[in-house]
């Protein structure tokens, strides 16, 4: 590639101190605590016994401080990055060198993270995610905010251009040879064309942030309301009521003590959720969808088009009267959210929103929605049969009729029940899921499979065909007794685990075969399959 050694840059000089402030604080704490305590007690700064050795202690402390600072400075000096020739490269390490490079067109998401301290200094961390669930592929900490934004724009711009080149090359390859294994050839073509594309120079001529169109915001009042109406709040209330009642009846005050730590834990959880979700804003731009949120630590995520592997809209029972929904997504590279709030925040596309917000976001993030501005191939246009908003409504709140006339006429019960485009669990399996059988269902649109389930906790899962990795039918002995199967779709790891629950055997089989056919795009020069091909070839 045409990278060379030019344009290597360093992160902001203050960044080691922002990153290592904890170590510095620990050092000061360690040496300063004793002295401070003695001062508070009115004694001398140094213990009499140590007074003679005080210079040595000071020297030792100073040396350690110097060593730590020198370590920071060295690590800063040896950390350099470069965006050129279709790659972002980072070298780190003083003794053990690490050189890492990631292809720009493989970018899954770019986040600009600002912890509170970095925000005070006007710095930001840039995280570059590729499809390797776990750590971020590249993270540059810290840059000036403006520099981070400019770099993000440059990377996204380069990624978009290279994706276009890859698509063009693959289209050419797909057109000329359907049966011949062309992967090597097309890879070489892409490389050749990449070399032809001028490297994005991260200089003053680099592209600015593409214009953004704000799509929705979550008002703080709604966020607070959503937290008050969450399951944790109910648990807290129930716990409080129980302990008060128990205390009153048994005249034993100790019950309330158990409540304090639990309540504190839940309140801390509330605070985390609130500060993470505060001021949530979604905006659409040509580079993808951009989410910004955070009260103290702020985070700006950019998801390029078509990077959402699976999506789930859910509604807890308490949100139903208010018509609120939550959207969670699987993005390759984000991984499964752990207990820490940051990751679960990153996989949340919408913490709480109305049906209208949900519709807007679906149109943006699903394939061919935001990907091609001006195209009418939105989610709405893609749905087969009845219009998409009806399908969406059926998926979010639909319920198959309890008694089905056709089912009685058809003794074999081979055809599953349907509701608003959704094929639901056959009536014969109603004992298996007495509440949910009318909800469990699936529907197929032009570019995604929709799965709905849950009577109280309503869920609607959307999996784009081009993003499904593999499919499996599962059936246990009980399910066999009722003639139903589960269909599991495998996507990259994340909070969403798509599974069609208790579909009829015949429908499950048919769906398996149909989905398998949709997963393998036929090499055609144009049409829907371009969406799958634009991914570009695998990196070697």
């Amino acid at each position: 590639m045409n990278g060379g050694t030019d344009n290597w840059q360093r992160v902001h000089p203050a960044s080691p101190f922002v990153r290592g402030w904890l170590a510095l604080a620990a050092l000061f704490f360690f040496f300063g605590r004793d002295a401070a305590e003695r001062l508070l007690r009115g004694g001398p700064v140094f213990d009499e016994r140590f007074a003679g050795r005080a210079p040595w202690l000071l020297l030792g402390g100073g040396t350690m401080l110097l060593l730590v600072v020198a370590g920071f400075v060295l690590s800063w000096y040896f950390t350099r990055y470069q965006v050129a020739g279709g790659f972002v490269r980072v070298t780190t390490g003083v003794l053990v060198k690490q050189h890492r490079q990631a292809r720009l067109d493989r970018v899954q998401a770019i986040d600009v993270v600002q912890p509170l301290l970095a925000r005070i200094f006007g710095l930001a961390e840039l995280r570059f995610e590729v499809a390797d669930a776990g750590q971020s592929a590249v993270h540059l900490a810290y840059l000036r905010v403006a520099e981070a934004r400019r770099l993000r724009a440059a990377i996204l711009d380069a990624a978009v251009r290279e994706a276009a080149v890859g698509e063009a090359a693959l289209r050419g390859a797909a057109g000329q040879a359907a049966a011949v294994p062309v992967a090597q050839g097309s890879g070489a073509q892409v490389d050749a064309q990449l070399a032809a594309v001028p490297a994005a120079p991260p200089g003053p001529a680099a592209p600015a942030d593409p214009p953004e169109r704000p799509v929705l915001t979550v008002p703080p009042r709604r966020l607070a309301g959503s937290l008050l109406l969450s399951e944790q709040a109910v648990v807290l209330l129930l716990g409080a009521a129980t302990s008060v009642l128990l205390s009153a009846f048994t005249e034993n005050r100790s019950f309330s003590f158990y409540l304090v730590p639990a309540g504190l834990g839940i309140l801390a959880g509330f605070w985390t959720s609130f500060s993470k979700g505060y001021n949530f804003t979604a905006a659409a731009s040509q580079a993808g969808i951009r989410l910004q949120y955070g009260l103290l630590d702020t985070l700006a995520q950019t998801l390029p088009p078509g990077r959402i592997q699976a999506l789930r809209i859910s509604q807890p029972p308490l949100w139903r009267p208010l018509g609120w929904y939550r959207i969670q997504v699987n993005v390759a590279g984000y991984g499964t959210p752990g207990q820490d709030g940051q990751r679960s925040a990153r996989t949340t596309l919408l913490p709480v929103g109305t049906l209208q917000d949900v519709t807007v976001l679906l149109d943006l993030v699903l394939p061919d929605g935001a990907a091609r501005p001006g195209s009418d191939q939105s989610f709405a246009a893609e749905a087969e049969g009845p219009d998409a908003h009806a399908v969406l409504a059926a998926g979010l709140s639909g319920l198959a009729p309890a008694a089905r006339i056709q089912a009685r006429r058809d003794p074999a019960h081979t055809i599953g029940d349907t509701d608003g485009g959704f094929t639901t669990t056959p009536r014969r399996a109603r004992l298996l899921a007495p509440l949910r059988w009318r909800r469990n269902g699936f529907a197929v649109t032009g570019n995604a499979l929709l799965i709905r389930t849950g009577r109280w906790w309503r869920h609607l899962t959307v999996v784009p065909h081009g993003r499904t990795q593999s499919i499996a039918l599962h059936q246990g002995p009980v399910a066999r007794r009722f003639g139903v199967v589960d269909l599991v779709l495998h996507t990259t790891s994340g909070p969403v685990a798509p599974r069609v629950i208790q579909a009829g055997l015949a429908e499950g089989r048919a769906l398996l075969l149909a989905q398998a056919a949709r997963l393998s795009p036929k090499p055609q020069p144009a049409g829907n399959t371009a969406e799958d091909l634009q991914e570009g070839p695998q990196h070697g």
Binding site: L473, R480, V488, S493, A497, L505, A510
Partner: protein
């Protein structure tokens, strides 16, 4: 209970090697002997008079119950081995397994990231290998056990070639 296969009709499944049954039976034998011996330890100690606590009936029942379970599994093993199958279609690979808990998996060639072939000492002695497909999803557990070594190598080459022809990446 009628056992109806859940996989779609009209697919000609390739079965794994009959020697895989031998491997499974040997594995079963080793496991059963070891676990039964461990579970029979209290019985021996009670009979020898060293232990008083577990009553004799319990000391007898523990290994017996395990043996019964193991025997039932032994009866199932040939059926389980016969149930494992795979089919190469034009665009995807199908893998099925299980009688009581059935599973049929479809992996499009274009979604494959890499192919693993592994062979433990027992498998190597019998000339077998285990093939594992990986996609970008951790949920894909596409394993074909008990392939003859030559068939495993052929399948790996075939899958790799077909995968390269249909790359779809992420």
């Amino acid at each position: 209970m009628p056992t109806e296969a859940i996989d779609p009709p009209g697919i000609s499944w390739l079965r794994v090697s009959p020697r895989y049954l031998t491997a499974r039976l040997l594995g079963w034998g080793a496991e059963t002997v070891l676990v039964t011996a461990a579970l029979a330890l209290p019985l021996a100690l009670v009979l020898a008079g060293a232990w008083r606590w577990p009553p004799l009936w319990f000391a007898v029942a523990l290994p017996s119950a395990y043996l019964l379970l193991a025997l039932w599994r032994l009866v199932l093993i040939p059926r389980q081995v016969r149930a494992v199958g795979y089919a190469e279609r034009v665009d995807d690979l199908l893998i099925r397994r299980g009688i009581l808990f059935q599973r049929t998996l479809v992996v499009p060639y274009g979604r494959m990231q890499y192919v693993d072939i592994a062979a433990g000492p027992l498998e190597r002695a019998l000339g077998l290998c285990t093939l594992k497909l990986h996609t970008a999803s951790a949920g894909t557990s596409a394993v074909i056990p008990g392939l003859p070594a030559a068939e495993g190598a052929r399948l790996r080459e075939q899958l790799t070639a077909r995968g390269e022809a249909r790359l779809a990446g992420l």
